[in-house]
């Protein structure tokens, strides 16, 4: 199907974006890798597209004041996956990139677009929650800093106001001894996950964030509490897998039943813990 007739505006600066955005019927166009498909299906019929893809203030990756990294909203998945700062300070994001769609889509899709679209099966929202990242937003009223855990409010819904856009994402500095991993189960390479898990273990904290099993990324606190930071005995792992039944309430979807999703989540947890276990012999070289 073809998109409906539409108006098009190209912003050259953040000031222009802020002057034009927030009016009814205006949608932001960044990488367009989800938006253009929804326009083609006529699931979304804005009056006007405001093209922000050339706005310099939304670009770049740099060290942030607290020692973490700041990732501009327009950073493409391909760029993110190759960046040395990201590799050094947020390797979870590097590991996530090959799981996202296909090379041609990763070349244009952006981190800001992925977070703002808030697909419940997408990788980057779950990674941001697992890392304790902050979403930096901006509108004509000023900037806000929103913890990723509070940013995703429902199915394709976020804390963004109608006149507000994502400026950047900031991840905290990785703690010494921290280990992260992401894994997912999909029927074909590049498909959205049937279920996935982004996990982070530091010396004093374990965080398990599931995706594709709820309306938003789901922080599995009961399972994490049952585990602590390891090393983990088979009994502790089994207890955590059982605790997932209290953490997760997956809806039935095209991939299968809630019971099927719970099963996948238990499998993912077992595999993730094998990667994160702090016992040296658990990681044969």
């Amino acid at each position: 199907m073809k998109a409906a007739p539409i108006q098009y505006l190209r912003a050259q600066s953040l000031a222009e974006v802020l002057a034009w955005y927030g009016k009814s019927g205006v949608r932001l166009l960044a990488g367009g890798q989800s938006l253009l498909a929804s326009l083609a299906f006529r699931l979304s019929e804005p009056d006007t597209l405001l093209d922000i893809s050339r706005v310099a203030e939304l670009r770049g990756i740099s060290r942030s004041a607290d020692g973490g990294i700041r990732i501009g909203a327009l950073t493409t998945h391909t760029h993110l996956g190759r960046d040395p700062l990201v590799r050094a300070h947020a390797p979870l994001l590097i590991e996530a990139i090959p799981l996202i769609a296909h090379p041609a889509i990763r070349n244009r899709g952006t981190i800001g677009g992925s977070l703002a679209y808030a697909d419940p099966a997408a990788e980057l929202p779950a990674c941001c929650v697992a890392l304790g990242a902050s979403i930096i937003t901006v509108s004509a009223r000023g900037e806000r800093r929103i913890p990723a855990a509070a940013f995703f409010t429902g199915l394709f819904e976020t804390a963004l106001a109608d006149d507000e856009l994502i400026l950047a994402v900031e991840t905290p500095a990785a703690a010494p001894g921290e280990r992260t991993t992401i894994l997912e189960l999909a029927r074909r390479n590049g498909d959205y996950a049937m279920a996935g898990l982004a996990a982070r273990r530091s010396v004093d904290h374990l965080r398990l964030v599931f995706f594709g099993v709820g309306a938003t990324p789901v922080d599995a606190r009961e399972a994490a509490m049952a585990l602590g930071v390891g090393p983990w005995s088979p009994a502790a792992i089994a207890a955590a897998q059982a605790a997932l039944d209290r953490d997760l309430d997956p809806p039935e979807d095209v991939h299968g039943s809630p019971a099927f999703k719970r099963h996948l989540a238990r499998i993912l947890l077992g595999r993730a813990l094998a990667r994160l276990d702090p016992t040296p012999e658990a990681h044969p070289r």
Binding site: M1, P5, L9, G32, D51, N107
Partner: protein, 164 residues
């Protein structure tokens, strides 16, 4: 603000200016406005890969890009890659292995395979069959002739490595 935009871009080395409807995606722009019929219209929502082109040197889905947004960009299509000779060995291997079959996915497959081989050459590695399958996983062949396509790409990957 307007629903028609003047856009100037470079397509297969030629500088082109056209007035386009804002909703016009790049595949329709290539096929209907420029009469470049090599790039296919497939699913038109980013799933099938038949419309794969290069924008500013990077692989892209033509159906997920608005022509109006490409002011100043460089677009390369199967016609450009064919004329330059850049993928002659790939095209010959596709023919030798009967990897084209109905031909609908072929331009997108060739662009995607060329991208893999180019990045493998920079990294000085020979892609495995698994690497090839992973890289073309976003390009659907409805004849299901993947085996022959992987054979053809693997043949060229090895031949290019041997020639280095």
């Amino acid at each position: 603000m307007t629903s028609e935009i003047d856009v100037t871009l470079t397509v297969n080395g030629e500088r082109i200016t056209r007035r386009v409807e804002a909703r016009r995606h790049l595949v329709d722009f290539l096929r209907l406005d420029l009469q470049l019929m090599g790039t296919r219209t497939g699913c038109e929502h980013g799933s099938c890969g038949a419309c794969t082109v290069r924008i500013d040197g990077a692989l892209a889905r033509g159906c997920l890009v608005l022509a109006a947004s490409l002011e100043g960009s460089t677009v390369d299509t199967i016609e450009g890659l064919s004329d330059s000779g850049e993928i002659r060995d790939l095209q010959e291997a596709f023919i030798a292995r009967n990897a084209t079959q109905c031909g609908y996915c072929t331009p997108g497959m060739l662009l995607t395979a060329a991208d893999l081989l180019a990045s493998a050459a920079i990294a000085r590695v020979v892609p495995s069959r698994e690497d090839i399958r992973d890289h073309i996983s976003g390009n659907y062949c409805r004849c299901t002739g993947y085996q022959a396509i992987v054979d053809a790409v693997e043949t060229v990957a090895k031949a290019r490595e041997a020639a280095r």
